[in-house]
Amino acid sequence: MSVITAHTAPATLSPAPRSLGARFRRFARRNPTMLLGGAILIFFVAIAIFAPLLAGDPMLKAPTRRLLPPSAQFWFGTDHLGQDVFARTVYGARVSLIVGLSVATISISAGLLIGLMAGYYRWIETPVMRLMDGLMAIPAILLAIALVALNQGSIGIVIAAIAIPELPRVVRLVRSIVLSVRELPFVEAVIACGARTPRILLLHIMPSTIAPLIVQATYICASAILVEASLSFLGAGVPPETPSWGNMIASSRLYLARAPWTIFCPAIALALVVLAVNLLGDGLRDKLDPRISRRM
């Protein structure tokens, strides 16, 4: 990552255009992936919020209309219980987005707190970092499976079970930033001025962690949505009757040949949302962390 100057484009050469429309067009030209990811994501957030207006009852079972192919009445067809696949897909967006956002928020804030402490206080550093090494050695999905299997599966448990394995990466990231920032002259100056530790940490060191953490948050959000769907698919996720994309795919898997729409509709929605969040993350990384952009 040493030779970077050749690739970092001169971002502030041309003066910012005045009108809102012109500024938006310029942003879109420079960040096509971010725009695409953002647009898809906004679409799904809107669907999740306005689900009751868009779709019928996702839980309504009607044996007379089992495994119907997509039609004008049922856009995505019906599943083996006669449930409306479109309604379930729309409501499934709620579960995925809630899990993604909550996991990102929880693991980032907890990781930030632990990382700040571990980076600043030498005596906590070793035990905390070894603990994180241990946590990192357990494959995330297995740890989450164990946590969910031991407790009654609910959306809260699922969120905690996904957030805990994400913690070590955030702690490591924050700690490494703290370690490099705390040696900088301005921190020394603040210490010399007699500022107390919480003030130094929150006001002077934490701001440096924000940009990389925003990027990390989007990646955690994407991976949380994937893991939630995987857990639900494996039967260790949100309760089985909840309309979540993983649950839908799991319950329809015997009907792949007869009714592929029951699997591919939620599957495409899932892949689109994760793709959107990843694209947004890539765009944010290029914008906020130009040091590694263009390379990875």
């Binding site: 990552m1 040493s2 030779v3 070894r130 603990l131 090494d133 241990g134 946590l135 050695a137 357990i138 494959p139 995330a140 999905i141 297995l142 740890l143 499976i145 164990a146 946590l147 969910v148 299997a149 031991l150 407790n151 009654q152 994407a222 994937l226 769907a229 995987s230 698919f233 494996l234 039967g235 260790a236 795919i249 898997r253 792949l256 040949a257 592929p260 699997i263 591919f264 599957a267 899932l270 892949a271 994760v274 793709l275 990843n278 694209l279 890539d282 390379r295 990875m296």
Partner: protein, 313 residues
Amino acid sequence: MLSYIAQRLAQTLLVMTLVGIFVFLLLHFSAGDPAAIIAGDYATPQQIVAIRQRLGLDDPLLVQFWRWAARVLSGDLGVSIFSNTPVSRLILQRLEPTLSLALLTMLFAVGIAVSLGVIAAWRVGSLVDRALMGFSVLGFSMPAFVVGYGLIYIFAIELRWLPVQGYKPLADGVGPWLLHLILPTVTLGLAYIALIARMTRASMLEVLEEDYIRTAKAKGVTTKTMLMKHALKNAGVPIITVIGIGVALLIGGVVITETVFNIPGIGRLVVDAISKRDYPIIQGVILLFSGIYVLVNLLVDLSYSLIDPRIRY
């Protein structure tokens, strides 16, 4: 060098001890009584008391941990609640499918990913490069079960080229074994390929800007020698590292892929244990998989000085 190995071994031991403590405590700090969890949903209070006594759950936590650790170290991972069979035997019975799938995927994925990454870095900005970068974002965004069902639908149900599901042991012949593993391998390998290809490309891009690459080109070395001998060898350390880290991805993927393709491996063992709440199985498999992951990464660390003689300890 020796002191470095000793240091890394000690570190590995510490990490594994921590994993052991986590796995042990999981059962004890979960909501509810471990005896009740082990007894299952339909147990009578007497049964729960009996289990509590049999497992020594009334002893101090430290005593229990010591007893458990001693057992695990001697290879005893406990007994399955549901089938009353030792967990280690259950794992051994299901080792072949999982090992076949994992090793085949590693071989296939590393081969493809490294070649793709090298080509993309060599022709940076070209169609191949952009296609690879696009594919890798997609590879990270598609859950294994979505890929798996997509492949089954296209190649097994519509085209009928490959078997839908199942596993044939190696003893039945290499042909059927391989045929049943093609789709699972592609499914499992996709995210792994995306990860390794990206890292190969990034690492190669950096090396290709070095002076000695310009020197090699100037003295008329063929492109192939320049890429494979001068560049790839020097770009090797980050690539090997990510191959090791990616094993975590493979382990999670094995559980899902075996479920999608109905492969009777260790992943299926865990998934079946979830619904039966057969905790000793989950515990045993977590320990095994974490152990493999930690061991692979230890070997990766130790291999650095073999790949790159400049690294000395």
